[in-house]
């Protein structure tokens, strides 16, 4: 009967020594873990223990199932095979230990017998192959393909750490097989074919000489055991740590909607200056980072040549915390203000990180400190001052906010006085920006001719504060939100509609924090989708355009709305050709996070918006880029000029397509009314 005979040929002292070394390993390991945990505890408090069920489930899906890791095929499969290969072998070893040291020792029974044992042998042999394949892929990728995202690490020692992990895992696998092969070669059990790799190695041993060389087995066994113990003990001190930090980090991830940013962790000292000002969860983020560089790959700021890389932010902060500072400051010396101001708050990094880091929250917390110190770009300073004084970044009087409505007859209802079903939150760009106001007029006229019961707030509207908050000026955000909420409370309406995804995001996700939940918020694409479906808006003409569409970060990635604008376009008779980066992989136009108010530094080679319009223009047969965000329109129209695509690509707001397809005669509407 197949049975596992453990510790054959191993002298008793070695067996004892193995347990002693094991004990030492546990001590070293525990010390490392405690050291890490004590660091976390020095961070500011943050509540992350609600909804245990969802948390555990997300660990199952993301850590065990590696769902997000797998989204990137090559590295995904590579990591999955290494991970599951190792886990299987670990489980195998644990089973063997239980079989021998618990069941056999205490109860004199063994469960690794008969068919259980042979399937165990087979499964472990297969997973061993997986491990070695994964490691091979990793070595090929890291040392031969050498993708950018793995290069240019901010500091030394990371290369050694990366190699260490690969070497240790490789050695464990290879020595494991050799020991197994030797055993099979000598014992030649009937069930040897159940260990195909071991059997092959065993046969090779026989072919090349006398395998019953006790010393060889003995030595390999010791090497195998030692490497395994060293690897175990080194977990809290090396890149192996992500094995533990990763799942823990996934467990404690934020379960709030992406669009709801955390308020500062301290009211007295909002913002982060020293590492201890981060929350414990943010400190955990830094440690969990595996330096995979996925976030850097998708970062629009990094792609443009800004000094920012979210990967490096994580790595540098982790290094800063663990290494002697030598008088260096975290802010300024390690993380520069330029890096922090480069972020467009597009959320791409957060959404792609396999260990669910929230790089953006750390960036914004450090920005909060810079704002407090007044360490900001002069143009941003003007914008903030204007927002504080006039409620818009343009520095225009609020009395001019509704100036665009002048040509409209009948006058648009004032939602502060008349009850309306839809409160149209127009937003700064649509109200004031000269390239936008004609689109705003179109929207008003489409609403009017469709008989929508709507109103605006005229001079009562303020900037929603979405980007103010992401700049790190929390106090100003509160002020703007308060003012808007007071105006909302004086108005009667059921639903807010806005064409601005930024306003949409904060109105929907962040205003409700202040207890104002009696309305729902729609993006205009959602409203038009409903109106077309219900027949309220009549599509008179199928446009037959071949278009592409840019998902705005704050509509798509932040709020998951990918379908409504697509349905509208298809209802208008447009054939949509997707850009390579679409939906959750959309590429930010570069305006978010307050960047639209800042000057681009000279090192910026190609602005995100320029890259994006080129991406759109490269699609064959597509000459229209449809946008559903006023800032996108402004950014892309500009980029079309600077990227020299005029005549090849036109940028159109969704509303322009609607006006065309409904064959609405704008001047006629004016006369009719």
């Amino acid at each position: 009967m197949p049975i596992r005979e453990t510790f054959w040929n191993i002298p008793h002292w070695a067996e004892i020594a193995q347990y002693l070394v094991g004990l030492l390993t546990i001590l070293i390991f525990s010390y490392g873990v405690i050291r890490r945990v004590r660091r976390w505890l020095q961070g500011r408090p943050q509540r992350r223990i609600d909804r245990i069920g969802s948390r555990l489930w997300s660990v199952v899906v993301q850590a065990v199932g590696q769902a997000r890791t797998l989204q990137d095929i090559y590295p995904g499969i590579m990591h999955l095979t290494i991970f599951w290969g190792m886990i299987a072998l670990l489980i195998g070893t644990i089973l063997a230990t239980v079989d021998w040291d618990v069941a056999h020792l205490l109860f004199n029974v063994q469960f690794l017998t008969s068919w259980v044992y042979v399937s165990y042998e087979l499964i472990l042999d297969i997973f061993g192959v997986f491990l070695l394949i994964g490691l091979g892929m990793a070595i090929y990728r890291r040392y031969i393909i050498r993708p950018d995202r793995l290069a240019n690490m901010p500091g030394i020692g990371f290369k050694r750490d990366d190699a260490y992990v690969l070497i240790m895992l490789g050695l464990i696998g290879i020595t494991g097989y050799l020991v197994e092969g030797l055993r099979i070669a000598v014992a030649q059990p009937d069930w040897a074919p159940w260990s195909p790799v071991g059997n092959a190695i065993g046969n090779a041993f026989i072919a090349f000489g006398d395998p019953s060389n006790r010393f060889l087995h003995y030595a390999l066994w010791i090497i195998h055991i030692l490497i395994a113990f060293v690897a175990l003990a080194s977990i809290p001190y090396t890149k192996f740590w992500h094995l533990i930090a990763g799942p823990v980090n996934i467990f404690f991830r934020s379960l709030e909607p992406a669009g709801k940013m955390s308020a500062p962790t301290s009211e007295e000292e909002p913002g982060v200056k020293e590492w201890r000002d981060f929350s414990w969860k943010q400190l955990l983020d830094f440690e969990s980072c595996t330096r995979c560089g996925r976030c850097q790959d998708v970062c629009p700021a990094h792609a443009s040549g800004f000094s920012l890389s979210p990967r490096d932010i994580m790595i540098k902060l982790d290094t800063f915390i663990w290494q002697p500072t030598n008088g260096r400051n975290m802010l300024g010396d390690t993380i520069s203000a330029d890096e922090l101001w480069a972020c467009t708050s597009c959320q791409a990094c957060v959404d792609i990180c396999p260990v669910f880091n929230d790089q953006l929250s750390s960036i914004i917390d450090m920005r909060r400190y810079l704002v407090l110190e007044g360490d900001i770009d002069p143009q941003l300073q003007d914008a903030l001052a204007n927002l504080g004084r006039y409620g818009n970044s343009f520095g225009k009087s609020e009395r001019m906010r509704a100036k665009w409505t002048k040509p409209i007859q009948p006058k648009i209802k004032d939602a502060r006085r008349d009850e309306v079903e839809y409160l149209w939150f127009v937003g700064d760009y649509a109200s004031y920006h000269t390239s936008m106001t004609d689109k705003t007029l179109m929207m008003a006229k489409v609403f009017q001719s469709a008989g929508l019961d709507f109103g605006i707030l005229y001079d009562g509207e303020r900037n929603s504060g979405n980007d103010v908050r992401r700049v790190g000026e929390e106090g100003l955000f509160d002020m703007l939100a308060e003012k808007n909420l007071v105006t909302f409370s004086k108005s009667t309406f059921k639903t807010i509609v806005t064409s601005d995804p930024h306003s949409f995001n904060t109105l929907k996700n962040e205003y409700s924090e202040n207890g104002n939940d009696h309305y729902s918020v729609l993006h205009y694409s959602q409203l038009f989708d409903q109106m077309i479906t219900s027949g309220q808006l009549n599509v008179a003409r199928k446009l037959g355009y071949k278009v592409t569409y840019h998902d705005p970060c704050y509509l798509g990635r932040y709020n998951g709305e990918y379908d409504a604008p697509r349905r509208v376009m298809s209802a208008l008779g447009c054939e949509l050709v997707e850009m390579p980066r679409n939906k959750e992989n959309t590429f930010c136009c570069g305006a978010g996070g307050g960047r639209i108010w800042m000057e681009d530094p000279p090192e910026v080679a190609e602005r995100p918006a320029e890259m994006r319009v080129k991406e759109a223009a490269s699609l064959s047969g597509v000459s229209i880029l449809v946008v559903a965000c006023p800032k996108d329109l402004v950014m892309f129209q500009d980029a079309v000029k600077t990227a020299d695509l005029e005549g090849k690509l036109v940028v159109k707001d969704l509303i322009e397509l609607i006006v065309e397809a409904t064959e609405m005669n704008l001047s006629e509407t004016e006369e009719q009314n």
Partner: protein, 254 residues
Amino acid sequence: MNIVVLAKLVPDLVEELEIDDSGIALDMTWLRLIINELDDHAIEEAILLKERTGANVTVLAPDIEGVDDILFTAAAKGADRLIKIVGDYESGVNNLGLARVLTPVIKDLQPDLILAGVEAHEDLDGSIGPLLAGYLDLPFIGYVASIELEEGKATATKEYPGGLSAEMEVALPVVLGIQVADEPPRYVAVSKVRQAMKTAEIEELEAGDFDLSGGPTIDRMYQPEVGESATIIDGSLDDIADSLIGIFKELGVQ
């Protein structure tokens, strides 16, 4: 080193100004009052000097609606003492009246340096800085763009038209009219202003009766007529462009 900065609120020109029924004053209903931009520069310069030399900064302002905000903002930037001059500003107070009230107040504060914005766009009877210098018998330098302090004296850089500037040395105490601070006025986060509201204290001083004598009186105020002197060229864009080209030719520049 004691620095006193004068700051006042003026109508925001971003808003459309309207004349009230009396015809000799602005209609206050729509008016937004903001800190005189140049006074903001004066405060910034004072704070920069404080950061460099450890001076003590007092900000002094007439008690007009909104003054608390500008004083607390100054405190959030680093001003040490905030004083508002309480009085009856309803019927309008000219700079002469203000300067007369401020003279004894400033004397009591015993400043080494008095800073004010070099002018405000509503000054009809002169600028507050040199008026004060006159009453206080102190020297005055205006249009100052940078200040260096040394023991008992200051070096001020005064700007002239055309980009020329002059470095002037002056014994303290002195009144300086600031045109632009060394650095643009800093942004103060709203939370910092709110904190200043909790911690800083605004002292109040009674102005007593204002003596407005000597200033000019206004008989009529009006908005300049649209294109009072300009011949407006209109028509289609095409026509306008053609007319302009005609004018260029006529004037011999094309």
